[in-house]
């Protein structure tokens, strides 16, 4: 296999990139100064060597424990469980949550070969069992697999004295009821809350 084929084959393994785009990226890099290609290669090596999962929450970090878990101003008794580390970024950008996280590492889907043993649910249960956790917020995606994962985690935590909550689903802020889909409106209505 030539060097060009090898690189485009690697690109084609990335999500959302097909054979044609992989070739286009390869030829683009070949047209750029060699320095750019070397910088990309170095960055990839650094990421592969340095980034690992946090020992406590399974977020991605360069240290044994991530910056969120180390932050003394955060509330360690409040855990938000998410599917992927990327979801933490979304919640952090909102700037509202002051607790810590737990990355489940995916969602249940036997069709994709993902069962409970492939997720970090038992590690979450261990964190809860160690005490001092008063609430776990389940922030998995509102998809079929996300719901099943949330229900499964809830059952696993059932025996512990803490609150298990699920993020709300409904009409997006700034949205228009007229254009919202029926399922979302039905769920927003059933999860309505009293105005005080």
């Amino acid at each position: 296999m030539s060097a060009i084929d090898e690189l485009s084959a690697e690109f084609a393994k990335l999500p959302g990139i097909g054979r044609k785009t992989a070739l286009r990226l390869t030829y683009y890099l070949l047209k750029r100064p060699p320095e750019q290609g070397r910088r990309l290669a170095a960055a990839l090596v650094t990421v592969a060597d340095r980034v690992r999962t946090c020992e406590q929450c399974y977020n991605l970090t360069e240290d044994p424990v991530c910056s969120i878990c180390r932050d003394g101003r955060r509330e360690p008794s409040l855990i938000c469980a998410v599917e992927e580390a990327a979801d933490i970024g979304a919640i952090e950008r909102a700037g509202e949550f002051r607790g810590v996280y737990h990355v489940l590492g995916g969602r249940l889907s036997p069709l994709d070969g993902v069962g409970p043993d492939d997720l970090t649910v038992s590690q979450l249960v261990a964190r809860v069992a160690a005490g001092a956790v008063r609430e776990v917020i389940l922030a998995t995606n509102p998809s079929l697999e996300g719901e099943a994962t949330a229900l499964y985690v809830q059952r696993q935590l059932a025996g512990y004295p803490l609150t298990v909550s699920r993020i709300a689903r409904g009409i997006p802020v700034g949205g228009d009821l007229e254009y919202a889909d029926g399922v979302t409106i039905a769920q927003a209505l059933s999860a309505r809350r009293e105005m005080r």
């Binding site: 036997p110 069962g115 409970p116 079929l144 719901e147 499964y152 919202a180 039905a186 769920q187 059933s190």
Partner: protein, 346 residues
């Protein structure tokens, strides 16, 4: 017309199979106006198209594309009776479950959402059961049981409530058509791998979810051997009886056909109540196997349906199949795919 209600072929054909030979796709456009007491859209244009190349189906309602295809379900409500519907009464439970699912999913958003979740969850649990046989942990299948129990309980509760609500109506319509015995229906819940039970109509969804969760757990070991989930709403039945006897076994061909027509009229009543619009009734050759007295009684029921029944379109192979005394219906003839009025206008 039925396509604009279910957004798919009423005969179960795939969208690609409906494309005319040599063509790139198909397109249907309908304009409907609704009368009715409950506020209903005064007039609605619905267009549905399918492209063979991209295998994409697109629907627009009043010019707008809904977020999900399912949002347009029942956009132009109609009920279809086809000759094969007698199979719904005489055949296996799958056809009767499909009848319940279509009737309830087109009128209850909660049912539709639960049905989609239940079917997806069932597929995942069955996949987990089969991988279990190859040595994966039992927890992989158990993990899907809370979701199945929650969504399945909604299906059970809504099916049971529907049977209670429409049971007397089935008896009334059947009697009006000329059935001498009492026609009744019963929702048989499959909550044990060995037997059926009757849903306690007073049971709350939470109680039903508990029943289903326990049944799934109890059946898990056997399910692993079978490679499939053997309890739950996907194994339910709607049992129809005539004078207390199962119509599937003891009903005559005419009685089974009459019961199927009565079920379609109930579907129209459910749609009328759920959507606020009286559905169009599309009846394909309903009088085959029926004596003239029954045919006339069916026409009287349809004609006297009041608000429940909207426009009725009957298709018969021979003009003589509709009693001559019935002059209310406008008659048209279809030849080579062209509809012509009696006076010859196309």
């Amino acid at each position: 017309m039925a396509y604009l209600h279910l957004l798919r072929s009423v005969r179960g054909a795939r969208d690609a199979d409906v494309v005319r030979f040599g063509e790139a796709g198909w397109h249907i456009r309908g304009e409907a106006s609704f009368g009715g007491i409950v506020p209903a859209p005064a007039a609605r244009v619905v267009a549905l198209g399918f492209e063979r190349g991209s295998r994409r189906k697109r629907v627009t309602v009043a010019g707008a594309i809904p977020r999900r295809l399912s949002d347009a379900l029942g956009a132009v409500p109609s009920v279809t009776f086809a000759p094969v519907d007698a199979e719904m009464v005489r055949g296996g439970p799958a056809a009767r479950r499909r009848y319940l699912d279509v009737t309830l999913a087109t009128t209850s958003r909660r049912y539709l959402t639960a049905l989609q979740a239940y079917r997806g969850g069932l597929l995942q649990r069955n996949t987990a059961l089969r991988s279990l046989a190859r040595g994966a942990g039992e927890a992989a299948a158990a993990a899907w049981e809370p979701l199945l129990a929650e969504s399945g309980a909604v299906l059970w509760a809504e099916r049971a409530a529907w049977v209670v609500r429409w049971g007397p109506e089935l008896a009334r319509i059947s009697a009006a058509i000329g059935e001498r015995g009492v026609v009744e229906m019963r929702h048989a819940m499959r909550y044990s791998a060995a037997s059926d039970g009757v849903c306690d109509e007073a049971a709350s969804p939470a109680e039903l979810a508990g029943v289903l969760a326990a049944a799934l757990e109890a059946g898990r070991a056997g399910d692993v051997r079978h490679g499939a989930t053997r309890v739950g709403p996907h194994r339910d039945d709607l049992i129809l009886t005539l004078g207390g006897r199962d119509m599937r076994t003891y009903g005559s061909a005419g009685q089974q056909r009459t019961a199927a027509i009565a079920l379609r009229i109930l579907e129209a009543g459910t749609l009328r109540l759920g959507t606020g619009a009286a559905p169009v009734l599309l009846f394909d050759d309903p009088f085959a196997e029926l004596d003239e007295g029954r045919a006339r009684a069916i026409l009287d029921v349809l004609g006297g349906g009041g608000d429940t029944v909207g426009q009725v379109i009957l298709a018969v192979p021979r003009a003589a199949d509709i009693p001559l005394g019935l002059t209310r219906l406008e008659r048209c003839a279809i030849a080579d795919g062209v509809v012509r009025g009696e006076d010859g206008d196309s």
